[in-house]
């Protein structure tokens, strides 16, 4: 008890002799003094820590303390606050005398009503021991914050009846998890989820906890896939139109060039094209950002398909349309622009939409070259969780786009069929005598080359 006084005296001494060192020494001394001063209380150096930084999950609590020189502890109670569930808790305790480990024999009980975990030591903990206790598997509430864990214990000083002591102000903290995580942890505790997950199939493919986690995580991948196709497709419309006109050009080499391009692209897998561009260009020293490379491959690929769709569409318009336009004095491009293309658009719209759907699904191939689109994200998620629910979520993300478009294709096709055959039928009963090219079969002509 007199040691702090000694230090104080020595400090004063130093102050007189070496003023310059005064502050450094003061700091050291204050720290030491504080440490020594606390020895006058019961258990010392007590603290509580948790091994998770967010709530709503099974958490390990660590309680460390040193028993006082004159107290022998036989029982320690952890009074978990409201919302904490120690039902599945297990306890591990380690006792040290200095650096020497002393055997500990203990057992614990859990009061579910009050949330109190009681650990009984028999024999009791010797005085002046270092004590470390771990309480595993305590379910924490989701809401984050700073919580207090009151600890009470009983002493059995030799020969003297037990005394209750308590340690206050032992706090720990963690954060509220992100919304999906919180939702998932909430689901962990729902009875229906537990029964649902008992069905092996549902657990593997439709685990609710995985589902709510995957939805926000895959959203970015969905946006990436969508961005790829939304940028690449307009480019391929232009490229496809250009190629289509090249394919119909009068100058043979221009036609050949278009043919070679179309056939090479349509005759090789997109997967191969992706590798050629991603690895080939890089090896040649041409470095684009991955996203740009991906858009380039997609646009190149889709242009070839659209070129054939457009060419077939344009050629399905009867020659008479072009002749009528020409006979009115229109140039080739005027006839194309005002007469042929507007009719072609209506005819190729369904096939074009189908091509868009194909292209959107094809973005999945970019997983192989590390573009973080929907497929790669779901793959990663699955390999991390060992559960296939993320694939189902990815499928839903694809379907959100494709199902309405598939529907649209159907509607466009019906509308086209109606307009081609005359919505309000002309009162003629012998329509077949009309030259057949006005109502030729655009559907086959325009559809066939586009299908893969």
């Amino acid at each position: 008890m007199n040691r702090p006084a000694d230090i104080g005296a020595r400090m004063r001494e130093l102050t007189h002799k070496h003023r310059s060192r005064f502050f450094a020494v003061t700091l050291l001394a204050v720290l030491m003094a504080l440490t020594l001063a606390t020895q006058s209380f019961a258990m010392t150096a007590a603290k509580v820590t948790v091994d998770r930084d967010t709530g709503g999950q099974l958490t390990r609590f660590t309680f460390a303390a040193t028993t006082d020189a004159d107290e022998v502890v036989s029982e320690i109670d952890f009074l978990f606050p409201k919302g904490f569930d120690p039902e599945q808790a297990s306890v591990k305790a380690t006792l040290l005398d200095g650096l020497k480990r002393i055997p500990a024999d203990y057992s614990h009980t859990i009061d579910l009503e009050t949330g109190v975990v009681t650990v009984t030591f028999n024999p009791p903990i010797p005085a002046g021991s270092n004590l470390s206790m771990q309480i595993h598997n305590v379910m924490t509430p989701i809401a984050g914050g700073t919580y207090e864990l009151p600890v009470e214990y009983s002493t059995t000083t030799t020969g003297v009846a037990g005394e209750r002591r308590s340690l206050d102000g032992l706090t720990f903290k963690y954060k509220t998890p992100p919304r999906a995580e919180a939702f998932s942890r909430w689901l962990d505790n729902q009875d229906w989820v537990t029964s649902w997950n008992k069905v092996k199939f549902l657990n593997l493919f439709l685990k609710p906890q995985q589902f709510v986690r995957a939805v926000p995580l895959l959203f970015a991948g969905w946006l990436m896939s969508l961005a790829l196709v939304l940028i690449a497709f307009p480019i391929s419309i232009i490229g496809g139109l250009g190629t289509a006109f090249m394919k119909m050009a009068k100058i043979p080499p221009v036609r050949w060039l278009a043919s070679i391009y179309i056939n090479v692209i349509r005759g090789t897998p997109l997967f191969l094209q992706i590798f050629v561009v991603f690895i080939g260009l890089r090896t040649m020293g041409l470095r684009f950002p991955d996203f740009v490379s991906a858009v380039i491959v997609l646009a190149f690929n889709s242009s070839a398909y659209l070129a054939e769709i457009f060419r077939a569409g344009i050629q399905s318009i009867s020659k008479g349309q072009f002749e009528a336009a020409s006979s009115l004095g229109m140039t080739y491009w005027q006839a194309m622009r005002y007469v042929i293309i507007p009719q072609t658009v209506r005819r190729v719209l369904p096939t074009m939409t189908s091509e868009f759907i194909l292209l959107f699904k094809d973005t999945a191939l970019f997983a192989a070259v590390g573009i973080f689109e929907l497929m790669l994200r779901s793959q990663n998620f699955v390999s991390r969780s060992g559960n296939l629910t993320a694939y189902v979520v990815a499928a839903l993300y694809y379907l959100v786009i494709t199902i309405p478009l598939i529907n649209l294709v159907g509607r466009l096709e019906r509308k086209l069929a109606q307009s081609e055959h005359g919505i309000v039928a002309a009162p003629s009963t012998r329509r077949s005598r009309r030259t057949p090219d006005l109502s030729s079969k655009p559907d086959q002509a325009a559809t066939t080359p586009g299908s893969r």
Binding site: A324, S327, G329, V339, I423, L438
Partner: protein, 247 residues
Amino acid sequence: MSAVTKPVVRIVNLHKCFGALEVLQGVDLEVQRGEVVVILGPSGSGKSTMLRCVNHLEVPTSGEVWLEDVQINAQGSNVNKVREHIGMVFQSFNLFPHLTARGNVMLAQRKVLGRSESEALRIADEQLAKVGLSDRADHYPSQLSGGQQQRVAIARALAMDPIVMLFDEVTSALDPELVRDVLEVMKELARGGMTMLVVTHEMGFARDVGSRVVFMDGGVIVEQGTPEQVFDHPQNERTKDFLGHIS
């Protein structure tokens, strides 16, 4: 018509081959202003090909085709410019299905002649009125009968103020009850002094309206003259044979 005035259309020694097939084997024809030349002949005799050579939808293999003082098939001639002045009406109408009747009549006025929207509109409605279709201006081709479509096609050609009109079997695809309306429009046009080349099988029209009848067979003009001459006193055996089959 007097030969003193300059012909509107002049065809000189026109030959046209499709590969080895020589469809036109030396056709000569002059059409004067205001003339209605009716071209008769069996199927495959080259009538359409000749007509299409006039506005260069077919490129002649040899020979000359003139519109007034411009040779259409000369090297470097502006075909589109010449075509502005030649109206053509097809057997299959060839209306633009994505445009209304009025839109059909307006399109080339706007894009080729550069007329203003309001002027093109005014002329379109005027021409549609002439062919008796004012009440169908906002209809799409698919909402019109064959006869109505063909009349829109005529209005579309007339709106360009052509100096000559070409008609290629314009009533052949029509139901009989619809033929008359179209012929009526053509008759009216002829009365108004329009220069016309008409390929048709309507003998009544040829006789009533034609100022000259030309009979073609095997890619050449076999015989020509006034309707009375050709119909009542045909000279050529093939003409007689053809007319015998028709009637």
